[in-house]
Assembly symmetry: C2
Homo-oligomer: 145 residues x 2
């Protein structure tokens, strides 16, 4: 469903939402250990998200990555679109050129129903709300926590 890169991005963003703010930053190094991801690879993803304006960072000693309140007002779908683009939600599951109700493939309706719902869940919940839901229901971002 999502590329490995995008899976890392989602888990990292949600971890930052739960554990950081303007006054509590975290280094890519520590984060990569917490979430068991390749260090440099994660760093590059976070840099891309910083450039795109979904993550905040500060350089130099005591620097690190974090989500500002403004960052936490965005939603996961935006982030997914930055990394994977919209194709994951729009392309035919069987690889047909068109994916629409006009010339549906044999599984279009099943898939499209799910994707529409999932997409709007991702879009309508802010990162902040996602983090709250995760904390309240004790959901997992990393097998060790």
């Amino acid at each position: 469903m999502f590329s490995t890169t995008c899976q890392y991005a989602i888990r990292a963003i949600l971890y930052l939402a739960l554990n950081t703010d303007d006054n509590h930053k975290i280094g890519a190094d520590v984060l990569s250990e917490e979430l068991e991801m390749p260090k440099h690879f994660l760093a590059k993803i976070l840099q891309q998200l910083t450039k795109s304006g979904f993550v905040s960072s500060s350089k130099g000693r005591n620097g690190g990555f974090y989500l500002s309140d403004k960052d936490k007002a965005s939603n996961l779908l935006e982030i997914i679109y930055v990394i994977d683009g919209p194709s994951r939600f729009e392309n035919c599951i069987l690889g047909l050129k068109e994916c629409s109700g006009k010339t549906p493939c044999p599984y279009h309706s099943d898939v499209q129903t799910f994707r529409r719902d999932f997409k709007s869940k991702l879009q309508n919940e802010t990162i902040f709300e996602s983090a709250k839901r995760i904390a309240e229901n004790n959901l997992t971002l990393n097998i060790n926590h």
Copy 2:
């Protein structure tokens, strides 16, 4: 969701279900043009499915690929498992090591509900029934038909 290889396999199998039987075979060459797939790549996939017992073939002049009645009694999930393995239905959407209700990720329940339903649809409908449904509802396997 599925690998490109698996998408080709599904579309090819369904096409064979609709257009072939013991007395009507089709060459990989023609099939690749009908479905707009790379010829040799499709041939390899069909060979793998033949080896696995889901597709029938005959060599030599007037040979080709086809689905026997017995082949048409199988289901798509089996074919997907041969190509992609079960991972597509069993792995966590965020890449966590475990995917279960014990330590669910934030999107486990949404995803799992869909996957359970989709998987059982794929499993409970025979290839023969799938083909019938495609013909009756004029569903698409190839943008040109």
